[in-house]
């Protein structure tokens, strides 16, 4: 209905009560704290960045802990959760849990530690696995891998590329070192890519032998077995791995055990979020040694509740005054249950700026009508109405945003049903198709008014007439705004002249035969009325030429600007034509629905045909509802934003954002009383 009147509020209180006062204001959620106080030598703003950082760090910790729990013990989720809304928590529970916050924070840290342990175990196990893999070809070697040899012998343990036999190796060595004898070699294991060898030679020609081997591609093993034999080392590593696995498993179980305390973590998350919001607001306060000042805005109707609650519990002084003329007062809207749902659409455009009215109530009526005209299928409308209605009745605890959206589609559904019935569209022409395909009869639901498909011209005229009504209502809102601001001249120049011009032209057109013929109308206005309308339009046109450029002092410039202003008549033309989308989108729904029905009926009159029909019917109409719902939503928004708002509304106001409880998981039971 209206923009709620706002008051400036100043609260002066003692510093010792600050925390409790802020908490109370947060629960009320009706005061928007402003950062517009000036510091002086006594009153200073407090630096909260350190405190804020700490809270933010804790928030990250808790959300990480919740993520960890979620990855180990996923919470069952369903679409109904969004409808159910947040759980309620009484103030007592809230305070009880609040006193446990240190324990909960410790638990979050613990969960994070456990998760880190698991990750560390995992990477350690991975490392061990690589080692075991590297050791396994050596498992039959019965001396340590790093064995260097004895006093007079030298041991060379390593790999040669390719699959080689012992003979091969010895032959090659003999070729390269013809005088070296006393070489003992063993093949430990061999595979396609590598041969693992152990070679013993006298120490005096060890370097020559190693050089020869290197030229064959010899490489030392990549792992070490310390001073025990590889097989033993492998067992040792396996034992280590088992130990790590046990630790990892244990940590995992411990995390799973913590899952039942997830609610406490969620609580802490909310608690910290609230604390953060208080902190954000705290930096706007002025503090002296023993007192502090809050400045902000409060809706007039909430003043009583807030002041009485504050002054009954604390020593406070509250000062209220009217906001100044040029102040950017935050906007809070209050509307009837019927209009309120469209607030979301308005918010996505912009809130009313200075001197503008709250357009919600007129906007909502047209919004529902236009939406219905675009979707215009009675069965789709009924589905929407019933679906939204059931959800609204069944889920009492729904979040208010969700509730508004559903309520909006509920009303849109009613309008869709109405227009669908007027135009005789029930799932397109399903009755006709089913009766002729399966029952060999001709039946049809008769439209109450007419069928746009058979008479598109009539629907086009109706769409444009609807557009003219919409646009003229917008112009009316402009008129009202000007009169309310006592700008009577502007009202005459910017609204009345346009009414006269556009209205006069339309009446004149309706009195000419040619125009009536094109539109296929059944009536024609008398010539005299047309002439009178033409005179009125001409007067308005002259008026617009003279006044559109009224801010210019120079008459020549002024007339030029005036002519440009008159050119705006083409804007009205295109605005009116724009409403032809009502016809196009309405037809689109109907025609696609008939296409679906016809495709379904292609199976003919048989059991298989009936099954085909049902499948095509269900899938096809679901898609059609989805697509056309989107289309109707987008284009209703467009008609509201561009054509309708273009006439009177610019927006630019800022939304009222009070200090409040904006939690993710729980809501305070008390909260519901205050919005």
């Amino acid at each position: 209905m209206a923009i709620l009147p706002m008051k400036r509020i100043h609260i002066y209180a003692l510093l010792k009560d600050r925390k409790r006062i802020m908490e109370m204001l947060q629960r009320f959620g009706t005061v928007q704290i402003e950062d517009n106080l000036e510091e002086d030598e006594i009153f200073l703003k407090k630096d909260i960045s350190g405190e804020k950082q700490k809270v933010e760090r804790d928030l990250t910790l808790v959300s990480q802990a919740l993520d960890i729990l979620e990855s180990h013990v996923p919470e069952p989720k369903s679409i109904l959760d969004t409808l159910n809304g947040r759980r309620e928590l009484s103030v007592e529970d809230f305070e009880r849990l609040g006193s446990k916050q240190d324990d909960i924070r410790k638990m979050a840290e613990h969960i994070k530690d456990l998760d880190r342990t698991i990750a560390e175990c995992k990477s350690e196990i991975h490392k061990i696995n690589t080692q075991i893999e590297a050791l396994s070809p050596w498992s039959s070697l019965d001396i340590p891998l790093q064995f260097q040899g004895t006093r007079s012998t030298c041991a060379l343990t390593g790999t040669l590329p390719g699959e080689l036999s012992l003979e091969n190796i010895l032959d090659k060595l003999a070729d390269m070192l013809p005088d070296a004898d006393e070489i003992h070699a063993d093949i430990i294991s061999s595979g396609k890519d590598q041969t693992h060898i152990f070679l013993l030679c006298p120490r005096h020609n060890a370097s020559a032998v190693e050089g020869a081997l290197r030229s064959m591609g010899f490489a030392r093993p990549p792992v070490s077995s310390g001073n025990i034999i590889p097989a033993e080392q492998k067992t040792k590593l396996e034992a280590e791995r088992a130990e790590l696995e046990r630790l990892s498993e244990k940590s995992k179980n411990e995390i799973i055990q913590h899952a039942e305390k997830r609610d406490e973590l969620k609580f802490l998350y909310d608690w910290l979020t609230m604390r953060l919001e208080r902190l954000e607001n705290k930096k706007c306060l002025l503090e002296s040694k023993y007192t502090f000042i809050i400045a902000g805005y409060i809706p007039q109707k909430e003043i009583q509740a807030v002041t009485s609650a504050l002054s009954s519990r604390f020593l406070v002084y509250i000062e209220l005054n009217d906001p100044g003329e040029d102040e950017d007062v935050p906007v809070l809207l209050e509307n009837s249950k019927f209009s309120e749902p469209v607030e979301g659409v308005l918010r996505s455009f912009s809130y009313p700026g200075k001197g503008e009215i709250d357009p919600i109530s007129i906007m909502s009526v047209f919004y529902y009508i236009l939406f219905g005209l675009m979707l215009s299928d009675a069965a789709y409308g009924l589905l929407m109405t019933i679906g939204c209605g059931i959800c609204l009745l069944k889920f009492k605890n729904m979040e208010s945003g969700m509730r508004k959206t559903l309520r909006m589609f509920f009303f849109c559904g009613i309008s869709t049903t109405f227009w669908g019935a007027m135009f005789g569209s029930w799932f397109g022409d399903v009755v006709t198709v089913v009766s002729s395909t399966f029952f060999n009869k001709t039946a049809a639901i008769k439209p109450i008014w007419f069928e746009p498909m058979r008479d598109p011209m009539r629907m086009l005229v109706f769409s444009m007439a609807m557009g003219i009504v919409h646009l003229f209502t917008g112009l009316g809102a402009k008129l009202y705004q000007c009169i309310r601001a006592k700008q009577y001249k502007d009202a005459l120049y910017d609204a009345v002249f346009w009414y006269m011009l556009v209205g006069g032209l339309i009446i004149f057109a309706l009195s000419t035969e040619k125009f009536v013929e094109i539109l296929n109308l059944s009536f024609i206005l008398p010539k005299s009325a047309g002439n009178a309308a033409a005179v009125i339009a001409a007067i308005a046109a002259i008026g617009i030429v003279l006044t559109s450029g009224r801010e210019s002092r120079n008459w020549f410039k002024r007339i030029l600007k005036g002519l440009y202003g008159l050119y705006n008549i083409t804007g009205y033309m295109s605005d009116i034509l724009s409403y032809s989308r009502l016809l196009a989108l309405g037809l689109a729904t109907g025609v696609i629905a008939s296409v679906i029905n016809q495709m379904g009926a292609m199976g003919g009159r048989s059991v298989a045909g009936a099954i085909l029909f049902i499948v095509v019917f269900l899938a096809g109409h679901s898609i059609n509802i989805g697509i056309n719902l989107l289309g109707a939503y987008v284009h209703t928004n467009r008609l509201s934003f561009v054509e309708f708002f273009g006439k009177f509304y610019e927006g630019g106001g800022s939304e009222f954002t009070p200090l409040g409880v904006h939690t993710k998981y729980y809501k305070l039971r008390e909260e519901s009383n205050h919005g």
Partner: protein, 160 residues
Amino acid sequence: MDNLGLIFALSGAVLAALLAGIGSAIGVGMAGQAAAGVVTDDPSKFGKVLILQLLPGTQGIYGLLIAFLTLTQIGVLGGSPDISLAKGLLYFVACLPMAFVGLWSAIRQAQAAVSSIALVAKRPDQAGKAIIFPAMVETYAILALLISILCVTGLGGLNI
């Protein structure tokens, strides 16, 4: 060559579905890439960017609509497809607005949608306005649809 009229009429119907469909496919594809990019960063924006992705998809549906309307009018779907050359040519021409405007507007709309998706990525609170920019382009597809519908339905009653 008695059926030349039918050939032209059918070509018109097919062209409407074909070109508008190609336009929408390109458009939805472009917007989809941009949308996927946004969702990589922030999965919670899925719903908002999905709507923007779907916007250039309507032209394909309008094309289908005109094609279907023409097919029923000329009697290809149940009926006797017997039309004169002149009438066939008229049907062909009637389908052209939807075919060409459908093709181009879907692609241009997709470009606007891609920019709007970037807008939503940076400022999710402006999603309402972001939808309007691509929707402005759609107006011309709707106007073309309107003319094609009026022509095709009007031709049914014509006796040439």
